[in-house]
């Protein structure tokens, strides 16, 4: 224990703390908590870089690992909670008023609450005026998850989604009780050209 002065003692303590943080990152289940743990991990490594006589690397690590990386993690995790619905039916199937709420809105709200998603209803006029043939292209190229249209002859509402997404199957299971709602799945059209 001869040459243990303050600096190397701090270095040992920080490294043990680093191991504890790494174990807790691996063990935790909630992704939001892990972002904060990653920020702390990066700050501890930056301090260790300074103790190891590399201050320029420490500046780079603080700028990138503690500022930019948690930002992009937060952005990407929050993008994964959205469920975007395009409403082309244009009637009171989906309305979120205080007075009454349409049948479709009740179903979609129950669905998104059950699976911890955020419902986002869009009725952009430009997108709604595209013909029905472009629906699959809309689903593939943009972020839209579900398109709601109305079939006037049979008086059913058709919800169109992607067949590759598990959410469409879960919505179909939930909509089985309603007989004027039908779920249609777009099959994948990729040939790998």
């Amino acid at each position: 224990m001869g040459n243990l002065d303050m600096l190397s003692l701090t270095a040992y303590a920080l490294q043990v703390l680093l191991i504890i943080m790494a174990i807790s990152i691996v063990v935790h289940k909630n992704n939001g908590t892990i972002i904060i743990l990653i920020t702390t991990f990066s700050l501890i490594t930056a301090s260790l870089y300074v103790i190891n006589k590399a201050p320029d690397v420490a500046i780079a690590e603080v700028a990138i690992g503690s500022a930019i990386i948690p930002l992009i993690y937060v952005i990407s995790i929050s993008r994964q909670r959205e469920f975007i619905v395009l409403d082309k039916a244009m009637d009171d199937f989906i309305i979120a008023d205080n007075a009454f709420t349409g049948v479709g809105y009740v179903l979609l709200k129950r669905f998104t609450d059950f699976y911890h998603l955020e419902l986002n209803i869009c009725n952009d006029v430009r997108l709604c005026s595209l013909g029905a043939g472009r629906d699959q292209l809309l689903c593939e190229q943009t972020n839209v998850d579900l398109i709601v249209t109305k079939d006037d002859e049979r008086n059913v509402y058709i919800l169109k989604g992607k067949a590759s997404s598990v959410l469409t199957y879960k919505l179909e299971a939930m909509a089985r009780d309603y007989d004027n709602i039908e779920v249609v799945k777009f099959k994948d059209r990729d040939f790998g050209d």
């Binding site: 593939e140 190229q141 994948d188 059209r189 990729d190 040939f191 790998g192 050209d193």
Partner: protein, 539 residues
């Protein structure tokens, strides 16, 4: 003046890629062809001035001292790879010439990848290799998901995460070499190891560094436990990208295998048996999975794995003749695999489906393309008069002393023959109604590749002695045994196909649906590193 050609070969594609991306005119795409012509001319002039002397091609960037600067070097091995990659990139550029929207972005990534790959082939500095490997991983991941459809996203993320952890192992190996020898210049390390005065602590660190470097290289070259990224990534990418990846980027890993072994040559590490077993396992597993797939591009992707296994079987010997067989198989495989992938792209685009059972009558619809595809299939199964036969014969000649090695190669050949007999079904049958496709550039690319296969298959003796200085006159096309072996392999393959594969029994279905989860492949990777540590360091 000639000394600066390697720098030009790296930076011309990168700068032309930037200019193509920034200028928003449609006619700027021709700059890619101009850049490619410039690079070909420079490479040919450089080869004319090449004298074979090490000191003539050695060039340190920035004029630093050679132990701390980044240096570039070229010898016969890297020059041959440079010519191969220029040729394959020409083919891909011609093939994808007019493919619609986003073409400028596509050319940007393609030319950037070419610059990075040429840099990887010529560099002499270990950390530079690491940087180029990471850049290649990022660019290939972007190119795999370029089509933004189908399963390409899951293939892309799987590829990215697995390869990044592999390249991190490579970096830890570099760390160990730096702190043992004080330099990361490949030539300096090679000289120090060959001088042979190492203390025992250095010896252990040296072997452990070898294990870690080989772990990183095995991930990039798709050897046995860590091969599972390749069928996913190559099966769902665009056909031109699949041809490029299977033909060339996988060979970058094998090139690094040769370089690292050359660097550690003085340390007497006994790698022959271990890498032979890995190569044999890779080849057999690749063929086994290839027989069970129904999707045309997945079959070709699994065949890439098995041919890389055959190359490893050749490269893992100590005598230069068999190593040359493995090296020649790298070139042959690049040619016929890209030919097969580009041809498959033409067929799939015309028929709008990927399953072999649904495509029929290609011979009547596209007779020219089907002739080129048949040339490719004959090459990969090792028919005489085509180039696959030459390299497989050299490897067979090198391992003819050991019975079991010979039988493993024979089984792999039978499996390859079976699987291509199954794929040859697409040529027969009636002509379907609505196929109409005319694209001249694609046919030119296919024709050049098929021509190269036939040329290499017949004129191998002058090419080998002229370029590499290796004598392969013991392999002759006109022996009875060659035709007999090939006919036997075809007949056994045909019987196996008719009796077993066509009926699609439960075993075949189980193998087809076998999926290695991401956690499992990482676990296998760590296990692989542990086994290599035990074998190389402790034994």
């Amino acid at each position: 003046m000639m000394l600066y050609v390697p720098i030009a070969l790296i930076f011309i594609p990168v700068f032309s890629a930037l200019i193509i991306y920034l200028i928003k005119a449609q006619s700027i795409r021709y700059l890619a062809f101009v850049a490619q012509i410039a690079m070909t001319v420079l490479a040919i002039l450089y080869y004319e001035a090449y004298t074979g002397q090490f000191a003539d091609t050695f060039f340190v960037i920035g004029g630093w001292h050679e132990r701390v600067g980044i240096s570039l070097i070229n010898d016969e091995l890297s020059l041959s790879f440079v010519f191969l990659s220029l040729f394959i990139w020409w083919m891909v550029l011609i093939y994808t010439f007019n493919t619609g929207q986003n073409h400028r972005t596509f050319l940007f990534f393609l030319m950037f990848l070419q610059g990075v790959f040429l840099g990887l082939l010529q560099t002499n500095d270990l950390f530079n290799m690491f940087v180029f490997l990471e850049l290649m991983t990022i660019l290939v991941a972007i190119l795999v998901v370029f089509k933004k459809a189908g399963d390409s996203f899951r293939a892309g993320i799987y590829y990215l995460l697995l390869n990044i952890s592999g390249v991190m192992m490579f970096l830890i190996g570099i760390i160990l070499i730096y702190f043992t020898f004080g330099t990361i210049n490949v030539n300096s390390v090679q000289t120090v190891i060959a001088a042979g005065e190492l203390v025992s602590g250095d010896e252990v660190a040296l072997r452990f560094a070898y294990v870690l470097l080989m772990a990183g290289i095995s991930v990039k070259a798709a050897l046995f436990p860590v091969h599972s990224w390749l069928p996913k990534a190559h099966g769902v990418a665009m056909s031109a990208i699949s041809g490029l990846l299977s033909g060339l980027v996988v060979k970058g890993g094998l090139y690094l295998f040769l370089r690292v072994n050359q660097m550690f040559a003085g340390a007497n590490i006994d790698y022959a048996l271990f890498f032979y077993i890995i190569g044999a396992l890779t080849a057999v597993i690749g063929v086994m999975f290839a027989l069970t797939q129904k999707d045309m591009k997945q079959v070709l992707a699994y065949h890439t794995i098995s041919q890389v296994g055959i190359v490893m079987m050749g490269l893992s010997h100590y005598d230069p003749q068999t190593v040359y067989g493995g090296l020649l198989h790298i070139f042959n495989h690049a040619l016929f695999k890209s030919l097969l992938f580009l041809g498959a792209g033409v067929i799939i685009k015309a028929y709008k489906t990927k399953k072999i059972k649904e495509i029929r009558g290609v011979m009547r619809t596209m007779p020219v393309v089907s002739i080129f595809m048949i040339i490719g299939m004959l090459s990969i199964t090792g028919a005489p008069f085509f180039n696959g036969f030459i390299s497989k014969s050299i490897i067979k000649y090198g391992i003819q002393d050991s019975g079991i090695k010979y039988w493993i190669l024979f089984i792999v050949n039978i499996g390859t023959a079976t699987s291509f007999i199954k794929m040859a079904q697409v040529f027969f049958g009636p002509k379907p109604m609505t196929i109409r496709l005319r694209s001249l550039e694609q046919r030119i690319a296919l024709m050049t590749l098929a021509f190269a296969c036939v040329v290499l298959g017949n004129f191998y003796i002058p090419i080998s002695t002229g370029f590499f200085g290796v004598d392969v006159s013991h392999v002759s096309v006109f022996q009875w045994e060659a035709f007999f072996d090939y006919a036997v392999a075809l007949i056994i393959g045909f019987c196996f196909y008719k009796l077993v594969i066509e009926k699609d029994p439960l075993t075949v279905r189980k193998i087809r649906e076998f999926n290695l989860s991401f956690e499992m492949s990482n676990y296998l990777f760590v296990l692989y590193v542990a086994v290599m540590t035990v074998y190389f360091v402790l034994l």
